[in-house]
Each structure stands twice: as C-alpha cells, then as structure tokens.
Symmetry: C2
Amino acid sequence: MITGDSKKAIVISIDAMGGDYAPDCTIEGIDIFAKSHKDVSFKVFGDESLILPLLEKYPYAKKSVKEIIHTDSYVKSDEKPSVAVRSGRKSSMGLAINSVKQGVADACVSAGNTGALMAMSKLSLRMLSGISRPAIVSVVPSRNGRFVMLDLGANIESDAADLARFAVMGKIYCQAMLRVENPTVGLLNIGSEDIKGRDEVKEAARILKGNPEEINFHGFIEGNEIGQGVVDVVVTDGFSGNIALKTMEGTAKMIAGSIKDGFKKSWLAKIGFLFLLPMLKEFKKKYDPRIHNGAMFIGLDGISIKSHGNADGFAFSKAIEAANNLVKHDIKRKIKESVENYHILSELL
Amino acid sequence: MITGDSKKAIVISIDAMGGDYAPDCTIEGIDIFAKSHKDVSFKVFGDESLILPLLEKYPYAKKSVKEIIHTDSYVKSDEKPSVAVRSGRKSSMGLAINSVKQGVADACVSAGNTGALMAMSKLSLRMLSGISRPAIVSVVPSRNGRFVMLDLGANIESDAADLARFAVMGKIYCQAMLRVENPTVGLLNIGSEDIKGRDEVKEAARILKGNPEEINFHGFIEGNEIGQGVVDVVVTDGFSGNIALKTMEGTAKMIAGSIKDGFKKSWLAKIGFLFLLPMLKEFKKKYDPRIHNGAMFIGLDGISIKSHGNADGFAFSKAIEAANNLVKHDIKRKIKESVENYHILSELL
C-alpha cells in the first residue's frame, strides 16, 4: 500500500471526465502541474479515445500519466448522488475513488458533480475512526492573505462535538496547505460575547478552550471578520459555512460588476481605467479564485479532492497541487493521530 | 390612541442618549429629517442639559421637538439585555419605548444597545397576535437596487412556521419601504433543488408555495445570489441571516481596503484615481450604508426602530425616515390583517 511518506513517489488518480470542460482541462491541468512536479505520476480514468489525442497535445501530461483506465461511463453533472452511488461504480469518478480505496493511488481529484463525489467518496473511503461526519474544507483569500474554512456544505447541521473535530481537522489542513505552524482557530457566531449564539456553538467553544496547546483558540468571530484574516481557520456548520462562502463570492462579484458598469458609463473613468490596469491585474491575481481551487472532503480515510466544475486547466492544476500537498503532509495520519490523542476530543462521544 | 392613519400628525419618540455620538447626532438627525418633513413631531428622551443647547444649534429640530422628557438614566452600550430589562425602565431607551406602548407616539428610534432595545421592546410592546417571534428586518443594497432581508439576528433558530411568517412580514415591509407592489420572496438555502437544505427550510418552502396570490414565492436562493438582486425579500433564520449580512459588509470592506492599498502603492494608480473620482463618488453613494440605516423589530405590536450605533446625523435621519415610512404605511395593521387572513398561515400553530 502506498503511504503518504514523501520519500515514495506520489500517485494521483484523475477523473478525466468530470467538469464542464472535461477532458480537455483535466489533461491540461495535469500538464501544467507536471511541468514543475516530475516526481508525481497519474492514473487517468475516462474515455481513452478522447484522452489519447490530448496526451499528444500535452507532453508533460503524457510523460507523467502512467496508466489510462478506460471507461465509457461517467457521472452527469445533474445526476442525483443516490443514483450515482447505485450505478456509478464503473464511472470515471467511481473508479478514481476506488483506486484510492485500493491503495494504488494516494489521492483522487475530480471536477465532477459535488454531491455524487461526496456520497461516493464517503461510501467507498469511509470515515476515519473517531470522526462521525466529513466536512468540506478549502482555502479562501482574505484581505491580508489566506485562511481555511470548514464546513462548506457537507452537512446541514453539526453538534458541538462535530464542530470541535472540524476545528482539529481544520488546524491540520491549514498546516498542510498554508504552512502555518500554530494556526489560530475561530468559531463563526453572531456575536463575540460568550453568552451569544447557538448552544452547539457555545458548547464547542467550551471544548476548544480546554487545551491551548492543542488548539490555539481565538474565540468567536463574526461574519464581517471572515474576510479580514482575523484567524487562520474559520469553523462553522455546513449550512452557515456554505452561505458565508457563497455570500463572499456573490458580494465580490456584485462589486466587481458595479465597477465594470462604472467604467463603461464615463469616458473619464475609461481613461482612469488605463492607468489602473497594472493595479487591477495585481488585484485580480490576488483574488483569482482559480488559485484556491480544490476542496477536500476531510475526515474520510482517503484523500478525495473536489475541483470547481468550471475549472480551466490552470485551476485544475491547482486542485492537483492541493492533493499533492495533502499527500506530502501525510494529512490522513496526522488527523488520525490528533483525533486519537487530543485531550479536548477524548471526552466526546 | 394615535393610529397609523396618515391624515393624523405623526409623533416619533427618540432615545436621544443611544449610540456612539449621542446626543449630538440624534438631535442633528432630527434636524436633517425635519427640514423636509414638517408634518412630523418628536418627543425626545434624555439629558435635558445636553439636549437644550443642541436644539439652539439645530433650528429645524427645535421646531419639531414638541417635548423633552428628562432622564439621567441611559442604557450603556455593553449592558446585558437582562440587566437593561430589569433596571432600564426609567432610561431614555425604556421611556421612549414605553411612549409607543402608551399610544402617545407612533414609533420610537434608538441607536443604543441592540440586545437591550430588542429585549425591552419585546417586553413592553409584546408580540402581534399570531406572531410567535419578532425578527430584525432591514433594507440592503444589491447590484441593481435594494432588497429586504430578515431575520438578521433576533432569533438563533427558527422553525418552518416562523420562516413563513417572516416571509409575510418581509413582504409587507418591502411594500412599505421599497414601494414594490408584489415583491418576490426567496428562502436562503444551500442549494436550489427541492431536496437540498434543512428540514425547516424545505417545509417553509412547501408552505410558501401554497398560495401565489398571497406570496410571490421565487423558491430557494443561495448566498451568491443575495447581492444580485434576484429577489425583493430574502427570508432566513437569524443565525444565517446575521452571518450573511455581516459577511457582505466584511467582503465589501475587504475589497474597498484592497483597492485603497492599491491606490497607495503606485503613482500610475494615483493618477488613475483622479480620473475615477466621479465614478467612485457615485459608487460610494450607491453603497453608502448610511442610506439604509434603520432596522425594525418586526412582529411586535408597535414600531421600534434600531439605528446603527455609530450613526452620524445623516444616518440617524434615515432611521427616522424608516420609522416615518412604516407609520405612514400602517405596517402594524397590515401585518395583523395578513397574519389573520392569509390562507398559507392558517394551518400553522
């Protein structure tokens, strides 16, 4: 079995058929990633007749793809997770996940249907012992850098014990992805005082305060603090987390749209726009969501990475990079050890 | 008793001592509002020795303030709601609320402690019959206009019946504040499909679908759609609503901050900035949060308006304007009639 040991060569399985621009962008993504990572090899799952010509186009991908596992079947973007679980085992997504389960790959990456990927990953990889629910976790840009946020929608409700485990997993994810040694952890709430908020959030705060050596707990944070980079890890239930993340995206889009409308309206603004181009480029780069592409279903006994469905080649390469980081960091083992050894978690059911 | 009938003169009670810049900004706010609303008169509650000199400074305020009710006591910004309820009856906030209860004023406005204002308003004004929980409702700017959102944090949890009542109250609030005849109503959720989300949200959707003539129900909306102006009224529980609203504020601040940082960094950008000034001014005006100042504790048997704590005179005048609009629109009677007559609500406990 392949372990996360960084001395061994890393193998990543790719669902070549998932996403809006598959398989072109999935193969291009491998190519971009492989250019600077010669030590990683790939198993690619999907339609061989489409994949082979693409490998001729992308020489780095061709070099690093060690195996194409052909399948005609793939999970549709609007397929119900329950249907995918029943009939998707032979699909490119199902086979890619299974390769992780079998231990012939260290991680899998798919830009396909989120619900199906989560359901199939859960069923195939199972939970890590000590974890009752997985969470969706990702890196998010803030004003002064980046932070980690979870759960982004794996669960619609979470109790205090779930939130405490999310905090521990989020800490380790942050260490792996952002190289922050002792990340600060904040619980999303609707007030900063101890007495405010939902019971499960208050109880989770009590647990997380229990051992500062295990969790560098900041306390509650509010919605307006998320983007300010107040903490390295934001912990919340999947309902609020999904709403907060999407609200951030929507607000950024709303403002960008308003600015664009303004540029269009006046000649003066158009001239100003020319002077601003270098700054706007830098700005766009900083907040480019493609850089942070790749969310993990954390808590599973295997690394399954979800890429945005509309990812281009560059964005998909970033999801592969996330998978590679997490394997190298041996995240599975680190989560397992923390869940087993952290005193703050030992009292939880 | 004073009714909301627009033919009668409207009386608004002001907690002159609430907020970061009280009483200067509360009196200035009255002055700004009174300049264009000669038909509204005010009762002002607070320290007479501070208020009287301010009235000399603000002639329109002086003209429209019919009574100063002196009190030394006021609710501190960090006072616990439970303490305020017990000992704040003689405070400027408590007396202002009570004047609405007594029927000697049509509405009250305070920029003081939110928790205290809500607790005291609830206790004094009581719920409208048929409403089990009040909600905090406000107007929020979107890309193409404005919309109404509730609950913004009055409750930490809400069941399907609460959400359905919020939808009805939100509709009427929208009619009063935005003059939209038949507002579209959306339920905030983490997916647009029927099967997604929390049980109470799904059940609320089922109720709201029940009668298109009563509620123009759009269906679920997601976080990224909030700022796009997809619906006129966004309905959600107070936990998610508070997080979504504050996340919008925080994201806008984050982007504005990044743009400012960019202007500072380069000379080219500084030149561009000069060309953009007219556009940025317009932009700032459009998203100026002061314009939308004034949230209502909707569902109470009386109009109690909360102004932002750091409101300046202009912002406070907008909270007074909100109170005036709601009185003129006779919102209390309209909510009462809807709650009693709407078929979709008749099945609810």
